[in-house]
Symmetry: C2
Subunit: 227 residues, 2 copies
């Protein structure tokens, strides 16, 4: 039973990484559609959303079953609770990517307002944060989780920069208002994606720190070193 449980945990971790990859590719596709003005990529975002929703329900249910049928140790229990929450965050990253795709769809129909530099930068940072937050979750890597929190500050400064720059465009030229507004909304979606990655990383910090505290309280006998 114990070996089987650990096998199922390993499968769950692999599926969490797969869901994380899907979330990353959604962010990437939505922003690439915008930058390359390529509407074909928008369909791929929508298709990925369906896959994401299926994974969300399936993994949610899998975590429930593992909790219901096994009696996980404190460390595994914290990991499973972290997994349940992270699955929700990943699904919402998918939702935000769909929002970006919708704004991109409108923007592609009009002439470009300006060369896009900060938004692709934000997207790349946010995508990396999703990657690292999931990596830290499945490996229980406290240090990696900390780097995610630091990256979030960089995303927030870019968001402020984008905001200031576009505000100037809008004030100086009314013709830019509608397009600039969509770009601002895209930057807010990217900020939210980074926030979701930060939530996952904060859960990892909570999981690893609490496990440590509990560990010390139990006179140093680690009950599950690997999570």
């Amino acid at each position: 039973m114990n070996r089987r449980f650990h096998g199922e945990l390993a499968t769950l971790k692999a599926d969490l990484l797969r869901m994380g990859d899907l979330a990353q590719s959604m962010v990437e596709l939505a922003v690439r559609a915008l930058v390359d003005r390529d509407t074909a990529l928008l369909g791929q975002v929508r298709a990925a959303e369906e896959e994401m929703n299926k994974l969300h329900l399936a993994l949610d249910e899998r975590c429930f079953t593992l909790l219901a049928l096994q009696q996980p140790t404190a460390g595994d229990l914290r990991f499973l609770l972290g997994a349940v929450k992270s699955v929700g965050d990943l699904e919402r990253i998918g939702d935000q990517s769909v929002s970006i795709a919708k704004s991109a769809e409108q923007l592609i129909q009009e002439p470009p307002l300006k060369p896009l530099i900060d938004i692709p930068k934000m997207a790349e940072l946010a995508r990396g944060m999703v990657h690292d937050s999931l990596g830290s979750l499945v490996s229980g890597d406290y240090g990696l989780a900390r780097t995610v929190l630091l990256a979030d500050d960089a995303v927030d400064s870019l968001r402020d920069e984008v905001f200031r720059e576009l505000l100037t465009h809008m004030t100086n030229d009314p013709d830019t208002v509608a397009r600039a507004l969509q770009l601002i909304l895209i930057s807010r979606s990217l900020e939210r994606i980074a926030d979701h990655a930060t939530n996952i990383a904060e859960d990892v910090i909570f999981i690893t720190t609490a496990a440590d505290v509990r560990h010390h309280a139990m006179d140093g006998f680690a009950e599950s070193e690997d999570d």
Copy 2:
């Protein structure tokens, strides 16, 4: 043990409602600060955020302890997982209220752009949704959870109305751009608050439906009618 567990579940439910009340009052205070141009209320939002963060950590930990020390039945387990997720949603409702308060702080320093009608309406709808989603969670009321999903559509139409109206202001008068932009961001925060309430309600639907399915699979013997 069982009686004690049920006592602890009841306390948890009461605390979830308290956290829900706090979230509602944060939304209300932030929007009232904006409408009444009353900066004193902004401090109350910040104070409430600290309380919210404390409750978040405390209830998260309480759910963990109940899961770790008890072996909840399937129905109670689903409720506890729903509680863990809802606590996260409530904390984020608090974050969005703080965002609204920050925008309000800037707007109060300038002359009003226009009488605010749709934003207070959105706030009232969103607040009601938070109220009902929490109510449905603690009582396991499927029907109440469904009404939350319906209200979300009304919030989304108001968001679109606010957007269109402010876009017109911005295009016609560059002086309104900065203020209109803050109002749009506020309407997006209210939309997110409604989304979080919707998430809670969706969890309730998942909990109650799955409990039903499980219930039928067990030949009609309800194991815990009251959740």
